[in-house]
């Protein structure tokens, strides 16, 4: 899923892997948003995170 365009088969497989049985109509409806979301998420892959460990929230004491 590295191209901007996502085909219906890819959407079906993705939904199925996540455990959802959505209709083709439901998947077509979200296709533009999935494409936009994946474009946005790809910017995270361009960041040099170095050795940063993932954090889920602010350091609490």
């Amino acid at each position: 899923m590295t191209n901007d365009r996502i085909d219906l088969d890819t959407l079906r497989r993705g939904a199925q892997l996540a455990g959802f049985a959505w209709s083709d109509t439901e998947l077509e409806e979200i296709r533009p948003q999935v494409e936009a979301a994946l474009r946005m998420l790809r910017t995270l892959e361009t960041v040099d995170v170095g050795g940063a460990e993932p954090t889920t929230h602010y350091r609490t004491v």
Partner: protein
Amino acid sequence: MTELTRMIATKAVSPVEVVRAHLDRIAALDQGLRSFITVCADAAMDAARTAEAAVVAGRPVGPLHGVPYALKDLYDTAGVRTTGGSRIFADRVPAADATVVRRLAEAGAIVLGKLNMVEFAYGPEGLNPHYGHARNPWDAATHRMAGGSSSGSGVAVAAGLTPGALGSDTGGSIRIPASLCGITGLKPTYGRVSRAGVLPLAWSMDHVGPMTRTVADSALMLGAIAGYDPADPSTSVLPVPNYLAALTGNLKGLRVGLLRSFFLDGAAPVVRAAVEAAAATLAGAGAVVDEVTLERVDLAGAGSLAVVGAEALAYHAELLRTRAAEYDPDVARRLRVSAFISGLHYVRAQQVRALVRDEVDAALARRDVLLAPSTPIVAPAVGERQATLGDGPVDVRSALLRFTRPFNFSGHPACAVPCGFTEGGLPIGMQLVGRPFDEATVLRAADAFQRLTDFHTRRPVV
């Protein structure tokens, strides 16, 4: 609320009179404003009579004794339905109060009712097709967005239906309606206030906080709800300071970092001018203002998408499989999109989160607070999907979240206060961001600003 507390304690006014006046106002105005989902009139009057008896008998009372407030309808309330703004939970009646509800009751506060919100807190516009779109009270002619997701909290406080409210903030859901409705809203540090008994949107981004007319009122409410809670392992054991005592009005030497790049540069001219004027006001009272840039803050959008999307879907997966037709179609669509966020995206977002957090920490190492607009635009009309900024049209939803979510991502405390009005009379908001667990300084700066200005005293005509 601070004033009501004093008046009740000195018997200048009775809790019964105060609660009745607010219930009357709700009955008269909320049909049009749509800020409440459930009004607890009988229980509130019972509590007010009990509170009145305690004052008359001279019994010791809490810091919010007899003062009414209302809650966003995602806080569990024992015996009172908690819908999360959804039809799916229309009949959900919790057996116990959320920790913060219990703490406010122990402080003497009285619940007026449960407030409208975006379904499951998933959206910044403040719209809800199930319980009606809350109406921003600042424009009688046009139905404008209240901002969300704590839309009812923003409207009810602005319109004087309640002196204070609880909201929750995952990407700006306290500060956005505070900005659009012209009130004060505080998102405390992640871990400062318990989330136990609060319906989650995204566990690692959700923050609980007050929405009030003044900073002093938010300080009063924060003092009552903050602190360690064994029921929420993310809460800190750090002691809770006296936030009211921190409100000295003194700005001399306070170091303020004005966030120009991304923030001021990305705001509508009228918003930029108001925040620049606010910076000048702070400087005029002795604050030392310089400009600071957060280079990585634009990553908070993608990072939040991954974190909020993945966590929200994890909470909703089963309901989405079994009761999808009952969701607001817009919320259901956003949840479905989240199925395509990978584990790699989620973890990478949490790594980026550490970088953003460290960058905000670094900016605050030599400054006491950061200053930025709360939202780049003022309240759009309901149905408006695009707004115009310097570079051209922008999506309203993205624009509303743009300046607030970086500090959900980083976890830093941020207080939104009104800092101006457009020529058409719509409020403009700014936010002051502080060091982790240093809400006292954030509140001191915001309160001092309110002592120097009158934006927070203006009321919409409803």
